[in-house]
Amino acid sequence: MKNLFHLVRKDFVRKWENPVVILGFLLIPFVFTLIFGFVFGAEGEDTLPRVKILTVDKDKSFISELVLRALTQGDLNELIEMEQVEEEEGYRLLDRGNASALLIVPKNFGQSVWDGEQTELLLVKNPSEQFLPQIAEEVLDTLTLILSSLRHIFTDELNTIREFDELDKFPDEAISTLSIKVKNRIEAVSKYVFPPIISLKQKTLSEEKGEGSDLSIYSYILPAIAMMFLLFICNTVFEDILREKETGTLTRIRISPASMTEYIWSKIVTSALIGIICTAALIILGNIFFSISWGNPGDVALLVLCLNILIAGFIAFLYAFIRTERQAGALLTTVILLMSMLGGSMIPVENFPPVIVNFSKLTLNYWGITAFKILMRGESLAAIFPILICMVLAGIVFSVIGSFFLNNNLKKGIAQ
């Protein structure tokens, strides 16, 4: 036990004297989060960027102007940013990705509406964007439906307006008569429409609601990226085994009264402790700079402890199959990146098809991120307790297996 303590202390002092690598791995998640926050907006879905729609009015009629103005009225103005352009310029800007969609009002659009003939608006979507052009399409779909309905309901009134429009005269008396007609028409229609006998009540499952509404984008990104870099940080401690083998210090330790088992466990303990310190640092930084609310401090501390036991054990387990620095570079990097990709450190697991999510559940990243999110939503320790138990048990099993094989490998390796 004394030897274990001396070995852990030595590794700590070494890392303290040469902290560049760990600091680098620690800062990357922080910087990534900062950049993602700037790019996508800190408040997540609430501050979705406005949908930029370019418009080309080939008709330049009263009706075409009415349609285009309708796009920026009321609440829509917060959602849609509209810019009138010439057709050629519109296509050019769309190619450059300067807008989400291009709306073209064809010639004789107004005339067709007056005549009650079928006509079309053309919406060209930006293929490089996924969500925003979809929003533009939905909005225009609704708008065209409303306009078509209004055209049918107010046919007489619209015909009157058309006559005035053609004469370019709007006498006051005629307007007041028209207003009364429109009012009467609305009242007549209202009998059938109000009050609605069927209403839609919205309800979202609590888990989905929590994920979507409560957490900022930082709360998604920081734990996800931190999980990936924690794996790399723990790896730096185990990498030392290969370096010590090369420099001869491992041989010297082997000849000393310290056993190889003590040596290997010293690496596991050091790795877990450094992991805990780094996670704590990221949590504090996240709280200070991104106002992330991680949940109950005691619960979070317990999660950090269990998570780092799991990570240290897992890396020890991987090192059971590694003999050289080259192998370590290839295997560890591949495994960590693959786990991060599948486990939600790069892309949120919610975006994966269910088949892939089954694989995600085999990664450390998935469980780490999931547990952090549960606590962030303010749920109690009980909600993550099974995850914590599994983390500790898996960490111990990985450590024991890793220690056994690593011990054998090192004995053989030193002898060679």
């Binding site: 030897n3 001396h6 202390r9 002092v13 070494r14 040469n18 010297r252 000849i255 009264p257 030193i414």
Partner: protein, 310 residues
């Protein structure tokens, strides 16, 4: 009193016998030099004594303890100074010495005293708080040695501790080794430097092809080549030409032979002119003739030289 006792030690790697049934003993406080060409089996022998390798057969007793059965106890008695700089460069000299001392179980008070003593002895006191990566090669060698000695081991295994250092550092290291030996530490000293072995070691073992070819004091080993001089002749001759001349010259013993160079053991004052005449008779050009007193080099050549081995 014996500190190290090796009995019929054997170790093979696949089909190669690295150590072939060797036996020897080393007394308390004795310095035994371990000489041999690369691949002779020295490192394998040292690795077995250090407990890094398990012998195929044979026994190793250290201070009467069986290495196989009492490995943990034996480890406390042993110190190792490998050829590599086996320490942590990012730590200071003091941090390194304290770490290795603690790992060997030295009590804090004793450890502090010893660290100070050895730092003073090696002229490094005052620089103990500098990271070792800032040290020169010679300074690092001194620290490498102190780490092996910090727990005052009964048996110290030294593997080329003076390789690539200046004469001043070398003398400093010799002094520390001699002092340790005088204090009762038994030392097994592996080196390629024959002069070093002559100067430092009480006895020398010459090893090749997994066997100990000779073991004794310097004077005992010299007897192997006798009282004769060592004659080195260089010139324009082939191996066959030189061999035919020597085979008819009974007074000379061949130590080593290669194209254009022959090393002989010969009573030079009486026979050198006769021998050279034989070369001239065959119209062989001689470039240089040198005559040396018998030394460890000649013993080594005689025992491990290629011609003799073949």
């Amino acid at each position: 009193m014996r500190m190290l006792q090796i009995e019929h030690l054997t170790k093979s790697f696949e089909k190669t016998k690295a150590v072939d049934d060797i036996s020897f003993e080393v007394k308390v406080g004795e310095i035994l030099g371990f000489l041999g060409p690369n691949g002779a089996g020295k490192t394998t022998t040292i690795s077995m004594i250090a407990g890094l390798l398990k012998p195929d057969s044979g026994k190793i007793l250290i201070d009467s303890l069986d290495l196989d059965r009492d490995l943990r106890k034996v480890k406390r008695l042993m110190g190792v100074v490998p050829q590599d700089m086996a320490f942590y460069e990012e730590l200071t000299a003091k941090e390194n010495l304290l770490f290795w001392g603690k790992l060997q179980g030295v009590r804090k008070k004793d450890l502090d005293e010893r660290v100070e003593y050895y730092l003073k002895k090696t002229g490094l006191l005052g620089r103990e708080n500098e990271a070792l990566k800032k040290y020169s090669g010679g300074m690092k060698r001194r620290i490498n040695l102190i780490i092996g000695l910090i727990h005052q081991p009964k048996l110290l295994l030294l593997d080329e501790p003076t390789i690539g250092i200046d004469i001043q550092t070398k003398l400093n290291i010799y002094e520390i080794i001699k002092e340790a030996s005088a204090n009762g530490t038994t030392i097994l000293y592996t080196t390629h430097n024959l002069q070093e072995a002559e100067e430092l070691c009480d006895r020398i073992a010459i090893m090749d092809l997994g066997k100990i070819l000779a073991l004794g004091t310097f004077n005992e080993l010299i007897q192997i080549v006798g009282e004769k001089d060592i004659v080195i002749i260089t010139g324009k001759f082939s191996i066959d030409q030189a061999r035919s001349i020597i085979s008819g010259f009974e007074q000379a013993a061949l130590l080593s032979l290669e194209e254009g160079k022959i090393v002989l053991s010969l009573e030079a004052s009486k026979n050198i002119s006769i021998l050279l005449e034989e070369f001239f008779k065959k119209e062989i050009t001689i470039d240089d003739v040198s005559i040396k007193q018998p030394n460890l080099e000649s013993v080594f050549l005689k025992l491990t030289g290629k011609e003799l081995r073949e």
